[in-house]
């Protein structure tokens, strides 16, 4: 009987394993140290958790293997073959910098050095016509040289190939004749979209990652199979779905941000169960915070993303904004006497001052300790916090300079930190036309519960949800996903001359491909859902806006009306008299994986006693505050702030004025204004 679902989220420090019993809906968490070869950590964790892999129905996994390979450049030797005259597209990029003013801060080097970028004579024009056929003799010469160099992966990137992949396909044949076992990615297949740098960059990442992730998933799959797992290993991709190893070889770049999306998915799902289709996820850890947004049950998706600035990966990705603010962020005073917070962090070591590892500067954690919001131990006693060291750091680092009391200084540190995070949330919400008052904030990660209510108040978000296991919520996200692939193609035509029949045919063709891929991965046709969107813009604009589209697409007039409405929501103005253009058609193909239900608890009527009381400071006043153990809090329990809830992986602060209730999934739901 296979009744277990297992999700593994491998992070830099910890490997989190989330085990769900389908029969009871109960979830169990195992946390183990990450290992040099992540697979050892996973298998070790599986053993430690006592999981019988023969009983596992679904094993899904978010991995940072691809992300790390890119950042460290520990990539297989990868070559690029491009159109003669265009050897340097991925090095010229868009030529812009991320930091506009620091001339000593450079954009990182491209993934393939110039020496391994070769060119061949060939050319397609802007109408998709072959104006120069591939010079096959030169192509063979390139293949011979690359073979001699022993390259392990190749990207073929030709100009205008998004319109016609003929020359690229021929080039691939020639390369494969010489090197049958080498993965060759061609831009017309990986991402048939206009703009050479974005397409080439995505193709290069795809080629370079292919050997990395194929080897990784094969090894992990083999280890799992050897221990009795009989199904497909499911890999979380950046788009927020999973795919099987069958797709990994051809679409390796989709795993470039695997793991980034898990928290966003978990946040969306939990908020949905609580009745909030609109939610903002705030995953706050030690050094950084990930912010995501779901609207009407859908995560916000972007194609504008990268692992490193300058090298776009143009696959749909769940939009996650990472900011350099976390529990370990340092508070400091700059040379003009202003109180600052982050982005520098004390990191895991030496960590906050109260860790006692020699860092004298105050961090957010030290401020929380000073105010009594954090106790004297973390992670179930694995880390001891020294309040005296925290106080000294706050006094020396902030209080003295600003002539504040220690508690006032700690409060100031946290208010600056919370305001910075609120600004980040504002960028992803208000500035995109979403009103935070319609949202719930899901606060998780080790430090989410400490700051959640303060940030929600700053943003006028009425409700904060703290999930049962805030520290491992991301792993839960890996359990809640469907199989998913994203397809897109340009469809550049003005709305006033567009023919619905042509667009419908384009959608139909893409959808056939989508069905094929999901079927190939073993998804039954009845479980497949296809979602269409069209990217549109006012003619002459440079950025497009995705608009959901019915199937079949219906009238052009309806699509245009939808676009005007969406433009108004997002940008607060519309131009009804201005002509509209189509830019791109997209299909999201979902293979629905039946979700196990999370366990539902009934109210017990039990009112647990606080395990202790202590003095906690809010708004520069000391409050005698009850301290609860999270495990003691039953469904239906309600309590008012001030209160502190402690658990192994996190601490939740319910400040004065707020009220909290434990719901049937054991989430703490906090109404911030009481």
């Amino acid at each position: 009987m296979q009744n277990l679902r297992v999700a593994v989220d491998v992070g830099g420090t910890f490997t989190d394993i989330c085990i769900m019993d389908e029969d009871t809906g109960l979830i169990r968490i195992e946390k183990t140290a990450s290992t040099l070869d992540p697979i050892d950590g996973i298998m070790g964790g599986v053993a430690k958790a006592g999981i019988d892999l023969t009983k596992v129905a679904l094993f899904s996994h978010g991995t940072t293997v691809a992300t790390n390979a890119l950042i460290t450049r520990r990539l297989p030797r990868t070559a690029m073959v491009s159109t003669q005259g265009f050897r340097d597209v991925i090095e010229i990029r868009r030529a812009n910098k991320e930091d506009l003013w620091d001339v000593y801060k450079d954009v990182v080097k491209p993934y393939i050095p110039r020496r391994d970028r070769l060119t061949v004579p060939e050319r397609i024009d802007s109408a998709g016509k072959v104006v120069e056929t591939l010079d096959e003799a030169k192509a063979r010469e390139v293949a011979r040289i690359l073979k001699k160099r022993g390259v392990e992966a190749i990207a073929v990137c030709f100009m205008n190939a998004y319109l016609n992949g003929e020359n690229e396909r021929r080039m691939r044949e020639i390369l494969l004749e010489a090197m049958p076992d080498i993965p060759v990615s061609i831009s017309s297949q990986v991402l048939p979209e206009i703009f050479e740098h974005e397409r080439f960059s995505t193709t290069v990442v795809n080629a370079a990652l292919s050997p990395v992730v194929v080897s990784y998933t094969t090894r992990l799959g083999d280890r799992l199979a050897a221990e009795g797992y009989t199904r497909d290993l499911l890999l979380l991709h950046t788009g927020g779905g999973v795919m099987t190893p069958a797709s990994v070889k051809d679409f390796a770049a989709r795993l470039a941000g695997s793991g980034i999306a898990a928290g966003a998915i978990a946040s969306r799902h939990i908020a949905g169960l609580c009745g909030y289709p609109n939610s903002i996820g705030l995953d706050m850890g030690g050094t950084s915070t990930d912010v995501s947004l779901a609207y009407e049950g859908q995560s916000r998706v972007t194609k504008d993303w990268y692992i490193e600035f300058g090298y776009p990966i143009r696959f749909s990705s769940i939009e996650v904004l990472t900011i350099g603010a976390g529990g370990g962020s340092l508070a400091w005073t700059d040379d003009a006497g202003s109180l600052r917070n982050g982005p520098q962090s004390a990191g895991a070591f030496p960590g906050p001052a109260c860790y006692g590892n020699g860092n004298p500067q105050p961090t957010n954690t030290d401020a929380n300790v000073t105010l009594g919001r954090l106790g004297t131990s973390l992670a179930g006693g694995k880390v001891t916090l020294d309040p005296a060291l925290a106080r000294t750091a706050v006094e020396e680092g902030v209080a003295k300079g600003f002539k504040l009391s220690t508690e006032q200084a700690a409060d100031a540190i946290l208010r600056v930190a919370n305001a910075n995070m609120s600004d980040a949330v504002r960028l992803i919400s208000i500035s995109r036309g979403y009103d935070p008052r319609d949202f719930a904030l899901v606060a998780f990660g080790g430090a989410g519960g400490l700051h959640g209510v303060a940030i929600a108040r700053e943003l006028s978000i009425p409700v904060v949800i703290v999930p049962p296991n805030p520290g491992v919520t991301s792993a839960l996200g890996c359990l809640l996903v469907d199989m998913q692939h994203d397809f897109s193609e340009n469809c550049m035509v003005d709305a006033d001359v567009a023919e619905p029949i042509g667009i419908e045919a384009q959608f139909a063709r893409i959808e056939r491909e989508a069905l094929d891929r999901l079927t190939h991965e073993g998804v039954a046709e009845r479980d497949i859902v296809l979602q269409r969107t069209i990217d549109m813009m006012y003619r002459g604009q440079w950025r497009s806006l995705a608009v959901s589209t019915p199937s079949p697409i219906g009238s052009i007039a309806d699509l245009v009306a939808d676009f005007h409405r969406e433009h108004h929501r997002e940008y607060n103005f519309r131009r009804d008299d201005a002509p509209v253009s189509f830019f791109r058609v997209n299909v999201k193909a979902i293979g629905v994986v039946p979700k196990a239900e999370l366990a539902v608890h009934a109210p017990t009527g039990v009112r647990p006693d606080p395990v202790a009381r202590r003095e906690v400071w809010f708004d520069n006043q000391a409050h005698d505050t009850p301290l609860y153990q999270r495990d003691d809090l039953p469904c239906g329990f309600t309590f008012a702030g001030p209160a502190i809830v402690e658990q192994v992986d996190s601490t939740t602060v319910v400040p004065p004025g707020a009220t909290a209730a434990v719901d049937k999934y054991l989430n703490i739901i906090i109404r911030v204004k009481g």
Binding site: D88, Y104, D125, K148, N160, A419, R426, Q541, N572
Partner: protein, 653 residues
Amino acid sequence: MAGEQTLDPVTFEVLKNSFITSVDQMGEQILRTCYSFVIYNHDFSSGLHDAHGECAAQGNQDIAVHVGTLHFTCKDVMRAFEGDMHEGDVFAINDPYAGGTHFSDVRLVRPIFSEGKIIAFAQSNGHWSDVGGSVPGSFDVSAKDMFREGLRITPVRLFDKGVFRKDVANLIASNTRDPASIIGDIHAQAQATQVCEREILRLVGKYGRDTVETGLSEVQDYVERAVRQRIAALPDGEWETVDFIDRDPGGGEGMIPIRIKMTIKGDKAIYDFTGSHPVIGTIYNSAFGTTFSAVAAGMKTFFPDLPLNSGFYRSFEIIVPEGSIVDAKWPVAVTGFLMPFEKIMNSIYEMWSQLMPERALACAFNLEYLLTGGRDVRSDDKPIFMFYDWLPGGWGGRNGKDGANVTTACFGTGMMAQPVEGQERANPILTTEYEILQDSAGPGKWRGGVGVRKTSLMLAAEDAVISYICDRECAIVWGIEGGLPSSPHGLTLTRAGADHEERLGTIFSDVKIGEGDLFSRPTAGGGGFGDPLDRCPAHVLEDVIDDYVSVQRAAKDYGVVIRAIDVELCEYECDAIATQALRADIRQQRVAWARTDPEGVAARFRSGEIDALDAIRQHAVILDWGTGKLLPESTRQFRETFERRSVANWAAV
């Protein structure tokens, strides 16, 4: 003098960051809704001003060239509409003689009211695709005054209490080549200023009007205090330099000097442009506003962490001679102000490199801007096309680090290069080459970054003309601390069927081109930093393997002897003994090379014995690169600076 802070530290920090976020939100909005492809590629800026028009915050992603100009235009709008501003009003201005940049940069200014009183202004500035004038794109280098350049917009009301004044907007749009886009950009920019208004009013709701007003003023004091403290920590002293514009097209041979003397005294910096050339007979003149901006942007490079606002601008003073190239007055043509602008910026890099050696930087390549327009006959209705293009190039070598390769021009590092595929779709152009240009980098212990070359073929078009705005084919991008210059700019054209190329150079306007004509533009690399004979041979070897540097120039410029073993395997080796000998030999001779008779060098160039890079890097000689004719005055001027920047820093033999 900067006032003391009265706000508590938390409120202050929160307001400071929220002001910047509110401006960044304007930037986000404009990027997503704009019509001008120039704006889309990041030629825009946004500002939040206090009730006096002073700049309280600029955005994180704003283009450098608008820095230090927004408060001038805000104040000009205030002057024009004093006592006549209302909620919902939005004004436009693009006047370079009132502190704007050039006519293409159109600013929309919205007063922000609280309880009936103006508490702030939001300003959105973007480069429109066209503002009329005699040539597509509104850059006519033959203009001597503004009447050929484009439409001058002195302060004008575009929205009246929230009502869009179609009549005024249409008048403006109708004077351009792209009216539909102009109306679109007016809406996009006006809406962006409303985003800022919404955020400021949110802050007023939370903190109160007085606190927000105090914050707008104290964030300026904060920046002023920080800059002054850092300047005060530097030694007092004087630094001087000169940089050049290639020529006055209306004058004789010889480069046009821009001189700057910088004085650091206590907590203030003073920049004196005395000795700079009078205005010249083309569009390469700078009005006071843009001269001010160039100084601010150059200096800001050495304070990368500080926010930008009027507090920064209060830390320095500028002295400009009346009627000089850095103080052009109406109606002198100024659309090409970026040419003097970049000279000023690089001069400031050079002087501050001596003050802050840990952030030293040699000269960057010069911006270049190509404008081609005509009718696209690929479709039957022969629409007007406008192919405007700008290329990245190399930045200067740094102290302990090579210069940045292929990066946008220093006037705005957020500016993006355009995708060829987009250009080919929109214009009858086929690009045949867009690659890094080998040997373009200025040699040095830390070489400059590499430039590129782009070559494009004109397809079927009618009435097509080409204009080019560039510089530094004479005032070659220079090295510092013994580093060498890089390479000359300049466009070459090969007519359909012709067997040779014509050199059109760096500045020309309205040249007819037709189907089958091929034009090619190199950009320079950055100048070198430090003596190239001190460059680690292993670094030269790596550059050869990646084809950044040729085997020949590795020997000539660096004295490093490299032999190919197996090119197919990228295997080369450096001959250490031969390198030592060659370096000793170059050391012996190079000072004499740099002082050798220029006419002789020109003759050897014409005979093909030496090339342009030899003439520049070994002999510091400036020629007409098309004919090989010596430019004696330019050479004299160039050699003067070469002696100071390069020769004087070479260790004695």
